[in-house]
């Protein structure tokens, strides 16, 4: 299992467009991938769940990846989050 923490720097948080890209990215992997914000934890394969988490700029989140292709998934998500926070 891999867990990595990020700070969302995009002021509006994860909006619909990046959320769409994120869900699509997550669906490419076999690993279970979830996002944790505070006490809340959601599966990252659902738009509804990502939006319902209502992430805002400045929020600390952690991505938890568990499965056979977790290394690969972690790498891809790292690139995604670096992009999102740039």
């Amino acid at each position: 299992m891999i867990s990595k923490e990020y700070t969302i720097l995009a002021p509006e948080g994860i909006h619909a467009r990046p959320a769409t890209a994120l869900v699509r990215l997550v669906k490419k992997f076999k690993s279970g991938i979830s996002l944790k914000k505070g006490e809340k934890m959601i599966q990252l394969n659902s738009m509804l769940n990502i939006l319902a988490l209502s992430t805002k700029g400045g929020d600390r989140v952690s991505v938890v990846i568990d499965g056979e292709d977790e290394d690969e998934a972690a790498l891809a998500l790292d690139v995604f989050f670096k992009d999102l926070i740039a």
Binding site: A16, R24, Q43, L51, A52, S54, G57, G58
Partner: protein, 577 residues
């Protein structure tokens, strides 16, 4: 018998400026009812789940066909909406919830979906964030599309007349794509706010729109003539000729203004002979940034922080201030933002500070003088600013500095706060530049001494003028004596610019003189390269910069030096070549 109807005004929230004049085209969302049918056996349950999955695939196919159509037309924004909608349609959480209702409550696919969609819509409507609240429309939209397929109905389209004004309860993302927006003159919706889908699309496409008009819109019938003012947030139903004419004039004026602004927004502020100037905006809150950037501001030359402190009963705590600054940092990104620490005195409404009413508040206990005395207030603000500095490109600036000792004292406090934060392991921008406002004549006179202490100067002309000339411009009897072109004021400005250059530090101007188009060439000639002003002034100043040469600006400055009155100097500045 036909009667001439009286003009009637309906108010709403103007979300996209511009004037539309045309006939109403009324769109209403079908209301979907629950059937209440209960399934009786496992076979029916399986069949309903199958029907749901089938309706989802048909919906996805429909959206993909729309996407294919859009890709040809190059409509990127519509594409985003549709791509997002396919994810809503195939969302595993949505399917989970629907299947659960079918299996456990023996609902039909239709009823299960209506129930799930309603619950999700409520969930989004209850969110704090306006953007997220507005996403209820996307959920509703996806739900409606699947429902249509469950009922065996494909999407229906109606033709509408060119140049019509759409009247709707709300516009769903799909509506805005299905609509050929080039044929729509404007739209008005009953529901929605500034971040509703209708508002976003209207703004992106430059279509005048008013949202949140409420139930009064129900009274509008198809084909009735309307005027819509997207700036004022108003509709006029049955406008008479005089009203229509005045709006046509406004419409024309608006089109010209937009064309003019557009022509200036993305072009650089560079003189004809290649001298680049930085044009920045003066702002008071995060929302002001939109206008700053729309007008071509390259950043913020003055962020006033008073708004945080006024009109309330207690001091804003560190967290509240941090959020305010962070919002600005995130929104501005890499663009520079100069934050001025509080500039409050006895003339402002902040009862919790316990400031005494003073005879002479502008010469009294205010700004940095309060901060150096009440270090609790100062510390909190500095901590919040420094913490937020990690998220953007901040500079910090102290107002009302009149002596070297004051800036040194302020720097000691700042250094102490930095040390504290570093010890706590809190991130901040260690390179953040420190500067001062030059607004007290004493500061201008000792600019050479002050330049050794800071990274930049920002000339605050409003106070500099009133202190130099000893004129209260709010006092009608002497207001005429308040004049930025007075030789004494100009000499002080020149001195500040020259001393900054000599010391190799930055110098900008953030007072009203920076936004006065008559002063632009003179200030350029003096060597000023950074102007900060209210956002709306930026295009005009940029135009001034682009139409002159540095040589011309220097000539004007040379000529102004020999003159002994404000009027003569102003006349030279207004002269054309």
């Amino acid at each position: 018998m036909t009667t001439t109807k009286e003009p009637r005004r309906i108010g709403g929230i103007g979300v996209s400026p511009g004037i539309a004049i045309g006939p109403a085209f009324v769109m209403r969302r079908e209301v979907v009812a629950v059937t209440g049918i209960t399934l009786t056996n496992a076979a029916e349950v399986a069949a309903e789940i199958g029907r749901f999955d089938e309706a989802v695939s048909q919906s996805v196919a429909e959206v993909e066909a729309l996407i294919a159509g859009l890709t040809d037309a190059g409509n990127d924004e519509g594409l985003d909406i549709l791509e997002t909608q396919t994810e809503f349609l195939t969302d595993p959480q949505l399917r989970n919830d629907v299947v659960q209702r079918i299996e456990e409550q023996f609902r039909t696919a239709h009823d299960a979906l209506v129930g799930v969609t309603d619950a999700l819509v409520q969930l989004f409507l209850n969110m704090d964030d306006a953007y997220m609240r507005a996403r209820h429309a996307d959920v509703r939209d996806a739900g409606d599309r699947i429902l249509r397929h469950l009922g065996g109905r494909a999407q229906q389209t109606r033709t509408y007349p060119e140049g019509c004004i759409i009247i709707a309860d709300d516009l769903s993302p799909s509506d805005t794509i299905a609509l050929d927006l080039t044929r729509v003159a404007g739209f008005a919706t009953q529901m929605g706010g500034k971040t509703s889908h209708a508002a976003i699309v209207a703004k992106a496409r430059g279509i005048p729109a008013v949202v949140g008009c409420g139930p009064l819109l129900d009274g509008i019938k198809e084909g009735e003539w309307l005027v819509l003012d997207g700036q004022a947030g108003e509709l006029v139903l049955h406008p008479d000729d005089a009203t229509t004419d005045s709006y046509r004039e406004k419409q024309q004026h608006f089109a010209e203004e937009i064309a003019w602004l557009k022509s200036l927004r993305d072009v650089p502020a560079v003189t004809k002979d290649g001298c680049a100037v930085q044009l920045l905006a003066n702002i008071s809150e995060p929302a002001d940034l939109d206008q700053a950037f729309e007008n071509g501001g390259e950043g913020v030359g003055l962020l006033r922080t008073e708004l945080l402190f006024l009109g309330r009963d207690s001091l804003p705590d560190e967290e509240e201030q941090f959020e305010f600054y962070q919002k600005i940092a995130l929104k501005a990104g890499k663009r520079p933002v100069t934050i001025r620490t509080i500039d409050i005195g006895g003339d402002k409404e902040a009862p919790y500070l316990g400031l005494a009413k003073e005879e002479n508040p502008f010469l009294g206990y205010r700004a940095i003088r309060i901060c150096l005395d009440r270090t609790d207030i100062f510390n909190t603000q500095l901590r919040a600013i420094l913490r937020a500095s990690a998220f953007g490109n901040f500079k910090i600036m102290f107002p009302m500095i009149g002596s070297v000792q004051e800036i040194r004292a302020a720097k000691v406090v700042l250094q102490e706060v930095r040390r504290e934060l570093a010890q706590e392991g809190v991130l901040f921008d260690a390179q953040m530049q420190t500067g001062i406002m030059i607004e007290i004549p004493a500061a201008a006179v000792i600019a050479d001494l002050l330049a050794k202490e800071v990274d930049f100067f920002s000339i605050g002309t409003n106070d500099l003028i009133q202190y130099t000339l000893a004129v209260d411009r709010m006092n009608d009897q002497v207001a005429a004596l308040y004049d930025g072109f007075h030789p004494a004021v100009l000499r002080l400005i020149v001195r500040v610019i020259e001393e900054a250059h000599r010391a190799g530090i930055h110098v900008g101007m953030c007072g009203e003189l920076a936004g006065d188009p008559h002063a632009t060439r003179l200030l350029l000639g003096m060597g000023l390269r950074e102007f900060s002003m209210s956002a709306v002034s930026i295009p005009r100043i940029k135009q001034q910069v682009r139409e002159t040469t540095l040589t011309e600006a220097q000539c004007i400055f040379e000529a102004a030096k020999g003159l002994d009155s404000a009027d003569e100097i102003r006349a030279i500045c207004k002269s054309v070549n």
